[in-house]
Amino acid sequence: MRIRTVEISVGLFMLVGFAALIVLALNVSGLNLTPRAGGYTLYANFENIGGLTPRARVSMSGVQIGEVRAIRLDPQLLVAEVEMNIFADVDFISTDSSAMILTSGLLGQQYIGIIPGGDLDVLGDGDFIFNTQSALVLEDLVGKFLMNQVSE
């Protein structure tokens, strides 16, 4: 009987350990085991992406509608080209929508916010969002502020 309690407790221990791994995977790292199937790709060019990274959130009105897939430098235009994967059920982004790089909180992660436009046509797979606003770069802001001070 003693050996059975040992076996049972070892079994429980192993289960708890693996449960911990699953909790870490799903709850802590937000690993998505079932990525939303499909979705479509949008592109946007930014003059400066700041600290944006792949897997960053793409949201509209604060609701996540996709994530950043890849970031490249466009060799002709010499600006950053961001590839975004938008969930398939979000098929109502109008062509005159604008994209901007935002920061969650003062020190938080950077993400892309999409502000919907009024056009009736909607963006499809592979389209570009032309209306973009770059990330706020603190140094630029400080520089502008100082210039204003001087000119006054």
Binding site: G17, A20, L24, Q109
Partner: protein, 261 residues
């Protein structure tokens, strides 16, 4: 006088080398050269019980307290910058990358490592190891191998349990007591933590530490002077060497995983 000192230094260096060789021999004899037969399973279960299950209480309790302290400290520091929501991210990253594997390994060395050394040392002192050999059973295979495997298996599991309990403890402090929005706590954490980069790397650390600690513990037990004094010295050495090795390896692994070179 000087010659004498040099001579002693040389002697010590040589005996250290020999000790290292013997520890390698134990490792090779018990696992590399002889893959474990299935017969070992009951022995392994028993060792996992001693090494893992019995360490569970200390791991859970310390995990909870360390998480709570992190939550509290993180909050008081971050609130100055108005970004106290980032406490979840700070707690999760520091636990997953560093504290869970390292602290678990240190506790593991103190709890399980010293027990392993004392147990094997006692077996040596009471001639149980010699007796096994005379019965025609390889003590490496029968005594050492299951304990080594149990160490490899238990350390990562314990480390993950530690991390989960710690994150939960921090949530208790930050969300329930200090009033951070629970959505912000968890969402910030999920944003910041990468499964491959943080969880898996932490797990790799835990496996390496488990290997190092158990190896040292088993070697010290097997190589100790078979007297009560020798066993107590070997137990102390296990804790000291294992802790130092864990901290040293932690730096190397961190540099390899998170450093840019």
């Amino acid at each position: 006088m000087l010659i004498d000192k040099i001579q002693r230094l040389g002697h010590r260096t040589l005996s250290r080398c020999a000790a290292f060789g013997r520890s390698g021999q134990i490792l090779v004899q018990s696992i590399v050269a002889r893959p474990a037969p299935l017969m070992m399973l009951p022995l392994l279960v028993k060792q996992i019980y001693f090494v893992g299950v019995l360490s569970l209480v200390i791991i859970v309790v310390s995990g909870a307290f360390i998480g709570m302290v992190l939550g509290l400290q993180g909050y008081t520091i971050l609130v100055d910058y108005g970004s106290e929501q980032a406490v979840g991210q700070m707690v999760a990253l520091s636990l997953l990358r560093e504290l869970a594997p390292v602290v678990t390994a240190l506790l593991f060395a103190g709890r399980a490592g010293s027990a392993l050394t004392a147990e094997i040392g006692l077996m040596k002192a009471t001639e149980q190891l010699a007796s096994l050999e005379m019965i025609g059973v390889d003590p490496y295979r029968r005594i050492i191998a299951p304990r080594l495997y149990a160490g490899f298996i238990c350390m990562p599991l314990l480390s993950m349990i530690f991390a989960v309990v710690g994150i939960w403890g921090a949530a208790l402090v930050a969300v329930d007591w200090l009033g951070i929005h629970s959505g912000a706590y968890w969402a910030n954490m999920q944003q910041a933590v990468d499964f491959r980069g943080d969880v898996i790397n932490g797990l790799i650390k835990a496996v390496v530490f488990g290997f190092v600690v158990t190896w040292i513990a088993v070697y010290q037990g097997y190589d100790c002077v078979p007297t009560s004094e020798g066993i107590s010295q070997a137990t102390t050495r296990t804790v000291v060497y294992a802790s130092l090795a864990v901290l040293g390896f932690d730096f190397v692994l961190t540099a390899l995983m998170f450093g840019d070179f």
